[in-house]
């Protein structure tokens, strides 16, 4: 995931000044390109189709183009000119990012255009690389024509955003599975285990532990079990011992928090 992905500034000035830098990361050296005419230091040969007709192609072909450029950029890394290399790099990474199958739906350029003359307000969404995130590339079909394009686009606000849907998916699934496991374990401890214990240890146990007020809470018989397990420590595996110890600790905590209110109240 590229790190330079700040949301691109709204390039309001590009129209009036007919020049804008390529991306913030390039800085002064990075150059840019011009809306009015295709200047020499434009980033990619295909980026400047012409003054009035901004590039309008569906993402896939441009995607391939970008990939090819990325390859070229990689090959040219060996060339001594640093400026050239700097120029290539963002193009390449931008292209790859737009083209990767997973990232394909994880970047967007969202343009919000307010009502203008007879046109109502509209929101445009497009998967497009960061450098192309402006009104002219995203808004299509352009609702106005000719001289109005500039005025219309000046009002639009374009924002480049990226996310990782895989991260979201994985996180939610991990969270839900942990929650589910905990709930199952909780149900087991509070409902199933006491029933099992009663069946196993019979009536005498029942009477004994009924004296204890804490019986209504889960793990109330941890003390007994722990004492019993100590007596036959050889047979008992360590896991159960640790579990019983933990139950005792939790019981102790519960007493101090919920019953005696000594801490955390």
């Amino acid at each position: 995931q590229p790190w330079g992905g700040q949301s691109a500034a709204v390039n309001k000035h590009c129209l009036t000044r007919a020049w804008r830098p390529n991306s913030p990361s390039l800085g002064v050296l990075g150059g840019g390109y011009c809306w009015g005419s295709c200047v020499a230091n434009s980033t990619s040969p295909g980026a400047c189709p012409g003054p009035a007709q901004p590039r309008r192609c569906d993402p896939l072909p441009s995607c391939r183009l970008d990939q090819r450029e990325a390859h070229r950029g990689l090959h040219r890394e060996a060339t001594p000119t640093r400026a050239a290399h700097r120029l290539r790099k963002p193009t390449g990474s931008g292209g790859q990012e737009a083209c990767g199958r997973q990232n394909f739906e994880d970047v967007r350029c969202k343009c919000i255009c307010p009502p203008y003359k007879e046109n109502s307000g509209h929101i445009y969404n497009k998967n497009i690389s960061q450098k192309d995130c402006d009104c002219l590339h995203v808004v299509e079909p352009m609702p106005v024509r000719g001289p109005d394009v500039e005025a219309y686009c000046l009002r639009c606000e374009c924002k480049y955003e990226e996310r990782s849907s895989v991260t979201i998916k994985v996180t939610i699934i991990i969270y839900l599975s942990i929650l589910g496991l905990l709930l199952l374990y909780m149900v087991y401890l509070t409902l199933v285990e006491p029933i099992l214990k009663r069946r196993l240890f019979g009536h005498s146990q029942l009477i004994q532990s009924d004296d204890d007020i804490g019986d209504h809470q889960p793990f109330a018989n941890a003390h007994d079990v722990l004492a019993r397990s100590r007596s036959r420590a050889n047979v008992l595996n360590k896991v159960e011992y640790a579990q019983q110890r933990w139950k005792l600790q939790v019981q102790e905590q519960r007493k101090s928090v919920f019953d005696r209110h000594v801490v955390l109240s």
Binding site: E105, R155, S165, I168, L182, P218
Partner: protein, 816 residues
Amino acid sequence: MAMWQGAMDNRGFQQGSFSSFQNSSSDEDLMDIPATAMDFSMRDDVPPLDREVGEDKSYNGGGIGYSNRIMDFLEEPIPGVGTYDDFNTIDWVREKSRDRDRHREITNKSKESTWALIHSVSDAFSGWLLMLLIGLLSGSLAGLIDISAHWMTDLKEGICTGGFWFNHEHCCWNSDHVTFEERDKCPEWNSWSQLIISTDEGAFAYIVNYFMYVLWALLFAFLAVSLVKVFAPYACGSGIPEIKTILSGFIIRGYLGKWTLVIKTITLVLAVSSGLSLGKEGPLVHVACCCGNILCHCFNKYRKNEAKRREVLSAAAAAGVSVAFGAPIGGVLFSLEEVSYYFPLKTLWRSFFAALVAAFTLRSINPFGNSRLVLFYVEFHTPWHLFELVPFILLGIFGGLWGALFIRTNIAWCRKRKTTQLGKYPVIEVLVVTAITAILAFPNEYTRMSTSELISELFNDCGLLDSSKLCDYENRFNTSKGGELPDRPAGVGVYSAMWQLALTLILKIVITIFTFGMKIPSGLFIPSMAVGAIAGRLLGVGMEQLAYYHQEWTIFNSWCSQGADCITPGLYAMVGAAACLGGVTRMTVSLVVIMFELTGGLEYIVPLMAAAMTSKWVADALGREGIYDAHIRLNGYPFLEAKEEFAHKTLAMDVMKPRRNDPLLTVLTQDSMTVEDVETIISETTYSGFPVVVSRESQRLVGFVLRRDLIISIENARKKQDGVVSTSIIYFTEHSPPLPPYTPPTLKLRNILDLSPFTVTDLTPMEIVVDIFRKLGLRQCLVTHNGRLLGIITKKDVLKHIAQMANQDPDSILFN
């Protein structure tokens, strides 16, 4: 070497018993020089820096370390000696000197072999590695909490059919059907009424949505409280008061354990999603501290030493705030200003690093999908005017009033919960509060949305494209001009939003008082900020309209000309949030840093500072302590506040135990008590330590031995050492005298004896004693008179005394 050690021990002993504290402290400077000179000649192999530490140690209770090292050749240290009981206070001096001993040993050994050298390097490096791990873990957990909480919050309203794991915003992320008028609607996102009765219009759909909202909220709250109750009761609350106490040297076993971490992380999401008026920031500090404590177990250096572990926890707290707010520097300052007790420069750098790593991790997870660390980033940079300081200070006063009110009422309610029947029904309490919150919250859109979203909307400055009601201004100007928007008259939407916000303010103020302190994870940063942000926005919009309609007023006409953008309501919301947070927590520096890191509004430091300072003044005038200190006092934790002065003219003899009519101080003698005698004393008393004297007649002090160490050592000796019976004599001396024949073998316990306990004379003023306890982190201090042992002062005695002097109930101090 041995001779030198003997000399040191002897000197420590003499100082301990014969001179008062003032003497020893003034002696320290004088005696250091000859001692250093002597030292040079005797230990050439020790680098100078290390030797200085060694010098220091002989004054600060290092005797135990020395004897430990001698004993190391004879026997392995008994497991358990030097540890503490639950709900006890650690002895900082002892822990620090133990760490210095350990460090010195490693440094000395490192010259012997390459392996030892590698060991010493890895030991030195382990602190930074630990910080890296803490940063990674807490950053990832914060990402998990952020993403899951967003998703679950939206689950109350509907579900995404394009992938159930998407929240509302991400569900409509790529949708082409989002319209300009209804920006948050897309066909992929289905509200519950759409799913159940397949319509989104009409009263019935509203009722269905209402019902589902309340139902989900209740379900989440119920799951949260029952998970907390069953698995980890310590996971409830915000955790900051307890962490503060733990960092000051208290021990709560299991408070920073694995189960607490898991349950707090899981239930925090549930609690936040249930729509209750609580935030995730305080609990995230607890989560990060749990990470720190658990990871400490991987490193020998930190596992065994409670003082070193607290240094790590300080840094972990910084990482926690760093991810909670996306404010790394603010986190470090928060740890320094609010949480930590002992914060050396080394910990500052480590906190800095941990905060950096944590923020970096969270940023790479990108939980908000806006490529930023924080949700509240503001994008306006309009200047503010000098006159506006007046409303900012008004907001500061409001924040202070709210802070004082909140602390008072919340503490009263919590006391009620602690003492009456109310505390017996934690689950029902949570469910009732959730039900009330949900039922009242749904009809009002500002309470229905999550609190952090509300704050982010309030902080936002209105642009032309904003669709929310808060931005429904009348556009009466020539719209062709881009750039800055001038002040505009409010439209219908703004007026109705004002009403709704006012209702939200009242609801938040009331419900937060009852929410904070319930038995679910609950922080109060976000609710306080929300209260302040609402008040600030209301004032800001009011000011804006005032300026718009009364441009001829002298206060406005200098800078509010026609068509100028002179008042930014979002800034007022920011300032209000800072003021309210400051009123509740009494933070100043860290608060301002957190606020400008949180919002990115670097220009607004002065307004934020003005508001934070005013609110602190106002709140301090109305009530002395911040919410965390108030909760510490409510629970009676042994926390010795470092910020307050002790200004009463009492003496050490007024505070020490035994009191005048009490029986004499229980002491052990160094070479005449049998095992049985000591066991009787242990079983008959509950003191956590006993002074050791030369003999009962002379009452000359030898050292101090802790009850726990004594019990463990005797038990161990009875099990393992041959021939130790009840009539065996216990020796605390260096050499046991020759034994007459046919007597049971003796038990030598010099290795558990602290040979340099702190002593003061009975006429030492209490202000000095309090200072010693605060600055050195002592646990107990012995009182002598003419060199004879007279009594003892523990931290609990000091705390009780302070409480008594402040006209509070001294019995409220519960723990040792």
